[in-house]
């Protein structure tokens, strides 16, 4: 039978019912194929191997997933421990240390300083009003330049004359300015103000 005939027979479904019939004369020839020898201990070895495997699987040692998980856990466990320690340490530190509030403290200080200053001034005015006023004027003069600007600003913008030098920014006959009243505004505009009319005001000695 040719190969083509065989294929056609298979396709038409009229092939022999069993492989033995299909193999024909080759079937008996295959009888010479050897049968394996069976060592007596093979059965015991197999049973033991299966038992060991079952034991390992029960403990999860032979599972691939468990192996991979074990390998990962070997690395992740210390990492997780370190991470947890860091987080716990952070929170313990937050709970035990009282860190100053950076915005709240200056506000407290400022209020307290103003309160002290206010009390001091009130006390000074009650005890010696004229002296207190004089003191305050002197303080104000010290903190402002001749044109009424803060002294720090003047130092930045103008050249401060040394001792004995001519101060070109200040007229020779410039009069001292008052801290309040219309004279201050005029002095800020560069005009000379009228002499102070209040009894306690004295012209500054040149």
């Amino acid at each position: 039978m040719s190969q083509k005939e065989g294929k056609e027979r298979i396709q038409h479904g009229d092939a022999p019912a069993t492989p033995a019939e299909d193999l024909g004369e080759l079937w008996q020839t295959l009888d010479v194929l050897p049968e394996a020898e069976h060592p007596e201990d093979l059965l015991a070895t197999t049973i033991e191997m299966v038992a060991v495997d079952a034991g390992h699987r029960r403990t999860g040692k032979t599972s691939r997933f468990a192996q991979v998980g074990g390998d990962l856990w070997q690395w992740f466990a210390p990492a997780i421990a370190v991470g947890v320690s860091i987080v716990v340490g952070y929170f313990i530190g937050q709970a035990t240390l009282e860190t100053p509030q950076p915005q709240q403290e200056p506000v407290d200080w400022r209020a307290r300083r103003q309160e002290i200053l206010k009390n001091t001034l009130q006390e000074a005015i009650q005890n010696d009003p004229a002296g207190a006023k004089k003191f305050l004027e002197k303080q104000l003069r010290d903190t402002r330049d001749t044109q009424g600007r803060p002294r720090g600003l003047q130092q930045k913008n103008t050249v401060v004359p040394r001792a004995g030098e001519l101060n070109v920014s200040k007229p020779r006959n410039a009069r001292p300015y008052s801290s309040d009243g219309p004279g201050k505004k005029e002095q800020l505009r560069g005009k000379q103000s009228e002499p102070l009319t209040e009894p306690d005001d004295q012209p500054r000695e040149q």
């Binding site: 194929l33 069976h38 059965l43 495997d53």
Partner: protein
């Protein structure tokens, strides 16, 4: 359908496997004793190496035991075991392909092997024209011829010859259609016939 199911359950191996599923260790031992020699023979003719065949047979029982809880007697235990055996043989083939460790027996090229068989048979008959191949030589020739088949053809022939499987059982075990199995067996027969032509001619003459 019901009759087929009853026939399946009445199969001795299936009954043993049902006991194994329920945790009967003695049944598993009986099952191994019943099936291991058959599987070793099957694998030995498949891979051509006895120790490898024993290892593969043990692997079959490992898988059987691992899968015991999932076993359902829908088909005969025979078919189930043959499916596992075929899977193991496929795994072996894939591993060997990856490692490129095919041996002479396991990986003969079809044409190359045919030439070798021809030469072997012709040489034997040429040196001693009147001599018939003795059993050992014939066994070697047939083993070489079987080794010359591809893996699926070889498995079909071996399941048919040693396990007396029908086309349907082979198809189920190898997850192929019946026509595919017939086609495989047909090609295997043609190749075996070609490889064993000198011997068959001598046998015909005698």
């Amino acid at each position: 359908m019901y009759r087929a199911a009853m026939a399946t359950v009445s199969d001795p191996s299936t009954l043993l496997m049902l006991r194994v599923r329920d945790g009967d260790a003695e049944a598993f031992e009986q099952l191994v004793a019943l099936w291991q020699p058959r599987l070793v023979t099957l694998f030995m003719n498949h891979v051509g190496d006895h120790s490898t065949a024993e290892d593969l047979a043990q692997e079959v029982f490992l898988r059987v035991y691992r899968a015991r809880h999932r076993y359902e007697p829908k088909a005969k235990f025979t078919t189930w075991v043959h499916t596992i055996a075929n899977n193991i043989a496929s795994d072996l083939r894939q591993r060997a392909y990856r490692r490129k460790e095919w041996g002479v027996v396991a990986n003969p090229s079809a044409s190359g092997n045919m030439v070798g068989l021809d030469q072997m048979a012709v040489a034997a008959s040429g040196l001693l024209p009147t001599r018939q191949l003795d059993q050992v030589e014939l066994q070697g020739v047939v083993q070489q011829a079987i080794a010359g088949l591809n893996d699926r053809q070889r498995m079909v022939v071996l399941l048919a010859k040693f396990e007396h499987c029908s086309y349907e059982e082979i198809a189920e075990a190898m997850k192929l259609s019946v026509s595919a199995v017939k086609s495989l067996l047909f090609r295997a027969r043609e190749q075996l016939r070609e490889a064993l032509k000198p011997y068959l001619a001598e046998k015909g003459e005698s």
